[in-house]
């Protein structure tokens, strides 16, 4: 793994008997994970936008499952390499790869179950897709596989303040995990709203007390905020995050959300990427960490506030008007900031003494 000041390209022995995956190994793992994540994004797009899915055997499923096969083959290759070096049993599994080795057959079994489910019960095209037991097993095992490079970095005490390139496998891992969690919270995903929908949702007669769409957007903002800010807060506890981490997170999540929305939410997506850049500046200036508790909490609040302030600004610029209920579009970023602060307090309740 890569650490501050120098770069290690090859797998190396860890402190215990198990080896630690090298930078290249982790990068390949996460790139192959990207392959099957993109397959899932394509599948999500198809479920949302292709009205007649007649078969389980679609091109996007092929991309998804072939990506999984490639990832599985790669992890087996890594294990075999260690076996050839004389490591046996669990000792052949690199540090951080154990959950992925467990998740591979779980994913495969869930995939077989999903095939049977689609064949016998039918193909989901609505909110039921997010609650299908086989889909939940698939997504859980996917996350275990995708978070492998993050575990490698996390477990290495020498990795403290990595460069962006050094942190790339872990950052991609974090970003794709967040996007998958958001994918399965599609009923409360604020990123898929178009600018027109954002403006209309918070435009209502005050006497009516709101609308269904206003409730949905408000709930979606709070839910999406947690999914976007908690990964950054968690990672900031362990690493000094390099500039670009938040932008990468936003870009990957927008890859998913634009696909799901059939590319109708481009101004919203641009807003999230802009917010990502601003959050990176916050990371750079505040240097939040467990030891810098005040900055950590300010970061939790500020990152959330910026995300949603830019969200409404992007919608307003694109539509040429702001929502009519001022309390809603000014209050939502503040509420999100309070949630961000709360998460920071929960994750690091007090300074280490």
């Amino acid at each position: 793994m890569l650490r501050q000041g120098r770069e290690q390209e090859l797998d190396e022995p860890a402190a215990g008997p198990r080896p630690r995956a090298g930078y290249r190994t982790d990068l390949i793992t996460v790139l192959l994970g990207t392959w099957f994540s993109i397959g899932l994004f394509l599948d999500a797009w198809a479920h949302s936008n292709v009205p007649e899915l007649e078969s389980f055997f679609t091109p996007w499923h092929a991309v998804f499952y072939s990506g999984f096969a490639a990832t599985g083959a790669w992890i087996l290759w890594v294990l075999w390499g260690n076996y050839q070096k004389g490591l046996r049993g669990l000792d052949a599994i690199p540090v951080g790869y154990g959950p992925a080795v467990f998740a591979l057959p779980v994913f495969a079994a869930a995939g077989a179950g999903d095939y049977l489910w689609h064949t016998v019960i039918g193909i989901e095209q609505g909110i039921d897709i997010l609650f299908s037991p086989t889909h939940l097993a698939l997504i859980s095992s996917m996350i275990l596989i995708l978070t492998t490079p993050l575990r490698t970095a996390w477990s290495d005490p020498a990795v403290i303040s990595p460069s962006f390139r050094q942190f790339l496998p872990a950052a991609l891992s974090l970003a794709f995990t967040a996007s998958l969690v958001l994918l399965f919270a599609g009923y409360a995903d604020a990123t898929v709203f178009t600018s027109d929908q954002v403006i209309r949702a918070f435009t209502f007669e005050k006497g009516e007390g709101g609308s269904g769409m206003a409730n949905r957007l408000a709930a979606s903002i709070m839910f999406t905020n947690l999914i976007m800010v908690v990964p950054l807060l968690s990672a900031a506890r362990r690493f000094r995050l390099p500039f670009g981490t938040a932008t990468l997170l936003a870009v990957v999540v927008m890859l998913l959300s634009t696909a799901v929305a059939n590319y109708t939410n481009m101004s919203t997506a641009v807003g999230f990427v802009v917010a990502g850049v601003i959050i990176d500046v916050l990371l750079l200036k505040l240097r939040p960490s467990e030891d810098r508790l005040k900055e950590y909490r300010i970061f939790g609040a500020a990152a959330s506030f910026v995300t949603w302030a830019v969200y409404f600004a992007a919608a307003g610029i694109d539509q040429g008007a702001m929502p009519s209920v001022t309390e809603m579009w000014t209050g939502a970023p503040v509420m999100a900031a309070l949630h961000g602060l709360l998460m920071a307090v929960v994750l690091v309740p007090t300074a280490r003494r």
């Binding site: 389980f56 991309v63 096969a69 087996l76 290759w77 591979l104 079994a109």
Partner: protein, 259 residues
């Protein structure tokens, strides 16, 4: 090695089937056919396509014609599904005429023979797989069988673009097919990786072939070619893949135990 084998066995026995029959078509014993248009319409033809699931109307005449609430313009080809075409003898209105057809049922073959052939291929694959370089030959043959089966299944589909259908039919073939070239290169260079790649490709192709076991027991297969040829390709993919996976891992285990 035990962990490696355990993960692989679980992958092989449980992994999602990447069925090579494109377009959602499945093997069956019955097949719906058009017997004629009565009275005939000049220039207009009707046929059952996509394994007897859809009616295809080609209007080569000079006047538009209405079928299933759709007006088929001169020069147009129109595909539609109609539940009536599943009856033993059926009729569907076509303008002032009717399309007549029937469903033929043919008993399938005895699957035991095909399972025996699959077992024989598995034995052959195993014997090849446990050698140092020969597994690459087996990988090429088994992959070729899978590619042929996927292409033949895709060609059996009418009215949809070829490439997306082939990608859907290939499934894990998207990975296994390119890995075949890796196996050949590794074999030429006499690398021990040959056995690993052979085992992995074999395992993937077993996964790809499992859903096609149905081809062994049904008479009508959605394949552009003779049914027995498709069954042979499926047996080769399944049996050969299984043998290569077992032989390759056996080779790796023996090679690993000497290090």
């Amino acid at each position: 090695m035990r962990v490696l084998l355990l993960v692989l066995v679980l992958l092989v026995t449980t992994a999602t089937p990447a069925r090579a029959h494109a377009g959602g078509l499945t093997p069956q014993d019955h097949l719906s056919r058009v017997t004629g248009i009565e009275p005939p319409l000049p220039g207009v033809t009707a046929a059952m396509v996509n394994h007897g699931t859809e009616v295809e109307i080609r209007n080569g005449g000079a006047t538009p014609i209405t079928v299933a609430d759709h007006v088929v313009a001169p020069g147009e080809t129109y595909l539609f599904r109609d539940e009536r075409t599943t009856a033993p003898r059926w009729e569907v209105p076509l303008g002032t005429s009717v399309i007549k057809g029937r469903v033929d049922t043919t008993p399938g073959p005895n699957p035991l023979w095909w399972l025996l052939i699959t077992a024989a291929f598995a034995l052959g694959g195993y014997l090849l797989g446990r050698r140092q370089a020969l597994p690459a030959v087996g990988v090429v043959v088994v992959t070729a069988a899978h590619v042929w089966h996927a292409v033949g299944s895709t060609l059996a589909v009418t009215g949809r673009p070829f490439v997306p259908l082939l990608i859907g039919a290939s499934g894990v073939g998207l990975v296994a097919w390119p890995l075949t070239a890796v196996a050949v290169v590794a074999a030429v260079r006499r690398r021990p990786a040959t056995a690993f790649v052979a085992a992995v490709v074999g395992a993937m192709l077993v996964v790809a072939g499992i859903p096609d076991v149905d081809s062994f027991r049904f008479s009508q297969l959605p394949f552009a070619g003779p049914g027995d040829l498709d069954r042979l390709l499926v047996a080769l993919t399944l049996g050969g893949g299984l043998g290569l996976a077992a032989g390759g891992f056996d080779y790796m285990r023996r090679a690993g135990s000497t290090t």
